[in-house]
Amino acid sequence: MATQKSKVSAKEAWGVREEGKDWKFDRRMAAHLYRRAGFGATSEALDAAVKMGMEKAVKGILNPGAGEGGVNLGAFEKETAELGAMAMNTGNVHNLGAWWLHRMLGTPDQLQEKLVLFWHGHFATSAAKVTNIRMMKQHDELLRKYAKGSFRKFVQAMSKDPAMLFWLDSTTNRKIRPNENYAREVMELFCLGEGNYTEKDIKEVARAFTGWEVRRKKFVFNKRQHDEGEKRILGKVGNFNGDDAVRIILDQKAGPRFIAKKLCRYFVAEEPELGDGVVEGLAKVIRKHDYEMGPVMERLLMSRVFYSGMSVGRRVKSPVEMAVGLLRSLRGSGSTTELDRALARLGQGLYYPPNVKGWDGGRTWINSSTLRGRANLVGKLLGEKGARFGMRRNRGLSRVAAGAGVDGAEGLVRWVYDLLLAVEPPGDVTKGLVKLAKGIKDGDERVRKVVHAVGTLPEFQLA
């Protein structure tokens, strides 16, 4: 395993990681980058990343259209738009989940999908209550539009999103009885976190949002129901409306800190979580860029702390990360409808977050039932007839491995480790896997069984 400096101080955490004696951007580090910024990468993509170096690789992730030799993003978008329309016509939100998985598996812009998943967990709105597929699709489009953009505009648009308002029972908000649900959540769950506002602030923010309604599944501003009086929100006084309220909320010092903490947990480390000092460093970056997420992500993905032992292997893969990552790394594909269902059973139904707080992540994904489910899903993804690996004429797992220059039983195990594991398993485990590989003659079955076994290791669940 590559050597990583295990501790990085708060002061140097967000500086750019530079190659040197103590650190190199090797295949393992490239795999770490792609696992976090996306859902994993093929052997060839790892080689290419190492060749171009870390900074160029990150820039390529941020601007996938600009890269050379990449898949054409425009064509991909056109194709998936057609599929999205087909999913919509079924009226079944589960097919929207299948559509999204299809995107995750095929997209040249992985960071986009990863961020959409992040924001989906942040603004956790569930089709279990919204039920209407048009509203959910509109919600999804909002997540996509702002995923890498301005969080300020994002929250303002979200405050007018029919699915969101329906989800939080906030489709009516009358002057005489302001509805406090959305006012509370926008501060507690979306922007500031508990303890950074008072109950009085909730009441005042609710007044600012009066007249914001949903009628016939569309947002409308009902001027007659809007409270034109003076409001006092987080120390500011004026005749504020909902947009003003969002602006004032995000002007709070706690705002960037709250978002920084969530980004750190999602992209850097769940356990142990980064310390307050380190998180504050990223909050400063967010303040500097006034909530523009693109530059914030660039800084994060190039940072010292991101490539340190404080980050590598410090997260638990979510079910989606686990399954999509496995398939992407091995150029796998197939129908995503059943996959969507299987992921729901493992605790991550797309468009069906468990509650308004979203998925808690970390250890909460894991128990004996979900671990068995994960192991079985790995087996299914690898072995089910119709599952496809490789490209065009080079179908089959053994061809994927051969194409990457894999040679021999030990080489195979190593190669699979590079693709799928952030943490090196103990020597005895590796020996067992090599023995397994040696006992099977060269071919698809050999690769399949080694990947299957690696896919049940405790290390496989970490990212």
């Binding site: 059943e338 909460t364 979900t370 896997l433 397994l436 405790p458 290390e459």
Partner: protein, 419 residues
Amino acid sequence: MMKKATRRAFMKGTGGAGTLFAMGGMAPHFLVGTAEAVSKGKAAEEKGKGDHVLVVVQLSGGNDGLNTVVPVGDDVYHKNRFITRIRKESAIKIDDYHGFHPSLDGFGKLLDDGRLAVLQGVGYPNPNRSHFVSMDIWHSARPGASRRTTGWLGRYVDGTSGRRGKRNDVAGIHLGDSRQPLALAGTKVQTPSIQSLEGFKLHTSGDGKLKKAMETGAKVNRAGGSDLLTFMQRSTASAMGSSERIQEALKDYEPAVKYPNSRLGDQLKTVAQLIEAGMTTRIYYLTHGGFDTHANQAQTHAALLKQLGDAVSAFCFDMKKRGHDKRVALMSFSEFGRRVKENASRGTDHGAAAPLFMAGGAVKKGLIGKHPSMTDLDQGDLKFHTDFRKVYATVLDEWLGYDSRKVLGGGFGKVKVFA
């Protein structure tokens, strides 16, 4: 244009005609009964304190309590239920005043055998008549709260996490493919939803060598690794161990009684098998839906109660024969009862207080508490006299051995429901 193959692959999935990954919904083959021999009940491994199990059967939609435990001896009932009423002669007699719905012969048998308690008049103050809100109230046990994000059992499971012993079997399991009930939502522990026993089987393609490599991978100590890795290694080892254990126990499993051929029957049989397999899971949560009988109630309600009574009695007698019934209790509730007066569509509308059932070898048999008055009503609905949180408190303190105040945020007294 989209590539043809892509379109085909996608359609194949969304159309449901055939899917590339047939991962769920398959019949659990090893469940299909074979041998005649009754298992020797080898599984009751963890006897003694702390091994009690609670099975919750939720009746979704608002069960008509008045036609479940029927006040057949009350004229007011017959006047209000001119069309939907159950006649005294067709009811299953409990006493002169009460009778079970004729479909509930299963409950009748349980009562005769001393394994059913009927708690009457259960509800909560200021009853809410929305399915969604009232169910949330029952699930969260927080009637007054403006937001309800955790459930009473979820909080119990959270509170006992880290005290689950070496096996780390899940503390709770939801059986079913519907949305997980709020009752099980906690903040720390994610309770799994499982559709069938298939979910407990670890697939190894029947390859011994592959299995061996997996076992080695799970067993080897990760000394020097992070706490997270240690946790993951232990959980993986436990997951493989319990799979093994369950497969062993199921090899020669034959229910001691015949289960009815219904979804609820299948699910309760699955629960029985897991208990028999020595799982240390404490909570099993099942739902039985369709009770929202606004129109033409009679047939639907009779069928639902038949499924309920037959499945619950099969389960209880199965547990009895296997020697688990002193440690397994089954509780069944609904989000509300229904209006005393029937409506104009041969049905009934949303009401309030209703009976709650507790079954098993450790319950105090018979009716507990009086039938709510048929004349002293709250907006046309029966008034509750037993707060459901009192029942929860009893279950937590006396059955699960967990301080109910930690879950309910206060004391609610107890009901004498366990013998």
